[in-house]
Amino acid sequence: MFPLTHLVAKKKRLAKSRFSDVKRPSRQSAACKLRSASRNNHASSSLLAGLMLEQQLINALSLGSVYALFALGFTLVFGVLGVINLSHGAIFMLGSYAALLLVEKLALPLWLAMLAAMLITGLIGLLVDFLVLKPLRQRNAPHLIPMIATIGVATMLTNLAQGLFGAENKRFPVGTIPEDSASFGSVHVTAVQVGIVVIAFVLMLVLLVVMRRTQLGRALRAIAESPKAAYLLGINVEGLFYLTSFAAAALGGAAGVLVGLSFNAISPFMGQPMLHKGIAVIILGGMGDIRGAMIGGLFLGFAEVLTVAYISSDFRDAVAFGLLFLILLVRPSGMFGKVLERKA
């Protein structure tokens, strides 16, 4: 009993400090941008109001949360397995289709369809690990090989989806998506937007707590340090690899469902652009770091939206990714890049 109460006390203390750690940088950067933006426009408050800053900040928060949610699973696999799993985009896409089919064919309620879709994509992730990653692990394949193998998996899954579901965009049937929205003056917030932000933050917190506060998390972190040492300590390394692949794919599937819900654009190719941004996000956040994935995702969302709002939509990706490059110049291992340092 003693270690448990000890843990709880420590958890509270640490949770507090860590929570403020998480919050501060994002708030700061948003505030910074706000100030510099208003300077750029030498704006009176009326001009700022004319640009609908509040609405853009909400757009940025929901877009950033989508990126973050996608990056969570992506970074988890890298942190534990040391593999850049490029099939994560395809699994994300399958999550969308799984939920769509469950809602359309079985008329499941949305929350149940989402849980089922997470289970389905989790099992697909497990299968990918079992069929592709495990044999490579056993043969001690060099680092690049599993990455290349997952490109193959991604291509296969994308083609499969195209064959099964067709190449055109699909959407959830009208009436199944909550269409509630609230307006505060000129600012519109939809229920789906709120859902995305809340679910992204909740999943991140759960993941953080599991990783930092549980026996399981301790074991996973031990594996991240050194699978061999972990094995010698009696940790079921292979089993935890499976669990990680399952959890990461389930998270990817959840992101897919939420993106499918909010943008009405479910297609076999929806994973590709997300994958590119996801890679950028986890590099920015620090490979394998959960807080890093979250903050990196939010950063990219804010950078993109504010570029569109204050510079030009023509240069959106150029400016957003230029900023990202600048940050990496200053911090080559990303914002929270400890894992990478340890690994190197």
């Binding site: 004319g50 853009q56 757009n59 877009l63 943008f263 652009p273 993109e304 569109v308 939509s313």
Partner: protein, 389 residues
């Protein structure tokens, strides 16, 4: 029982016998051989097959009414696969081997740039029904087309929209990394400048984007009366939905990219009040168009599209020209006579009133003829496009 069988066989063979007789007669009278180069396989096949159907329907109708001046029109169809190289081969075969009077096609503008020079060099009329690129008819005096360019359609659409919704200023959104949406944007931009309609803001997006809210919020802040959208149907549907979720009610104005049922599969009623210009509409209730649609459905069991309609009209244009041509049997002379007769043709077809106009002049070069035709402006109502009244 036996009598029945005999009767049955007789009934079955009779039409064949009659048909054989007519074919023999036709062969005795002069057949007019017309070449058709269409993409019947490959990615462009959906256009090519519709085009072939349109031509087949028109040829059957014309021949059933006794042909042109007693001569049957015979289509010599070749598959150019939507490829430049194949289009060149097919053109050579049709012109030099099959010795056709003229050539219809090819399906894609890209192939037309490769193959049309062969027709011009051989002094054979080449008639495009689906080539909308700039510069097709600048390739030589034997080039004709009845396909209407976006540059002709969009100004009409914008003008109709301005009148219908009393528009003072518009915002523009377009995909900047797609050839079709980008060239549509260029035409819209020129049109808006010409019609002196101020643009509040111009926003771009990239292929694969699904979240357009940042751009749309900026558009909302600029407070336009309408939103011009040079987009593909699926993107447009998503853009329309997100516009509504931001509490905006502006109507959309678009080009042929929006001319797809997919728009309404996704956007449903949110797409209402979207204006779209097209060369042909199934909703256009003129007698010629109604007859065309009914005959097409009866013959092929599917709904016709714009490409079938333009092909159908093209053969009627040529048939009309041939009425005024006395065929001598000497191929070069007849080919030239057709070239001389075509520009004067005016018909009322499935796509509406049609005439030719000389292509924009190019210094030191003889040019061909473009389509002079009013675009049809459609408005979305209850999840489909209907004619704007």
């Amino acid at each position: 029982m036996r009598l029945n069988t005999i009767l049955h066989t007789a009934l079955k063979t009779l039409p064949a016998l009659l048909l054989g007789a007519t074919l023999a007669n036709a062969a005795l009278a002069a057949d007019v051989k017309l070449g058709l180069a269409a993409a019947l396989t490959g990615p462009a096949a959906k256009y090519g097959v519709a085009i072939k159907n349109g031509f087949t329907l028109a040829a059957d109708e014309i021949n059933a009414q006794g042909g042109v001046n007693g001569n049957k029109l015979v289509l010599v169809t070749e598959d150019e696969q939507g490829k430049k190289e194949e289009a060149i081969n097919v053109f050579k075969k049709l012109i030099f081997q099959d010795k056709v009077l003229m050539v219809f096609g090819p399906t894609l503008s890209n192939s037309a740039f490769a193959a049309d020079p062969i027709a011009n060099a051989s002094k054979v009329v080449v008639f495009g029904t689906s080539n909308t690129a700039d510069g097709i008819t600048a390739m030589g005096p034997f080039t004709f087309r009845n396909s209407v360019m976006e540059a002709d359609v969009l100004p009409v659409t914008v003008k109709a929209a301005v009148k219908h919704f009393d528009i003072k200023k518009v915002a523009v959104i377009y995909g900047n990394d797609d050839a079709f949406t980008k060239s549509g944007y260029d035409v819209f931009k020129a049109t808006l400048e010409q019609q002196k309609i101020p643009t509040t803001t111009t926003e771009a997006y990239a292929k694969g984007d699904v979240d357009f809210k940042a751009q749309l919020t900026k558009i909302k802040a600029s407070n336009p009366d309408a939103i011009v959208c040079s987009c593909l149907a699926e993107e447009a549907a998503n853009i329309i939905l997100q516009t509504r979720s931001l509490g905006m009610k502006q109507p959309f104005i678009g080009g042929n990219g929006l001319n797809s049922p997919k728009l309404f599969d996704i956007a449903k009623d949110a797409g209402d009040n979207t204006l779209m210009g097209s060369p042909w509409s199934s909703e256009n209730g003129t007698p010629v168009n109604k007859a065309f649609i009914a005959a097409y459905k009866a013959k092929f069991g599917s709904e016709p599209d714009q490409f079938a309609a333009q092909a159908y009209d093209a053969l009627h244009v040529v048939a009309d020209a041939l009425k005024n041509v006395k065929l001598s049997g000497a191929l070069p002379k007849d080919r030239d006579a057709l070239r001389e007769a075509l520009p004067a043709v005016k018909i009322d077809g499935a796509t509406g009133k049609f005439a030719f106009r000389p292509a924009p002049a190019v210094a030191g070069k003889q040019v061909g003829f473009d389509a002079q035709q009013e675009a049809i402006v459609n408005i979305a109502k209850g999840g489909k496009f209907v004619l704007l009244k």
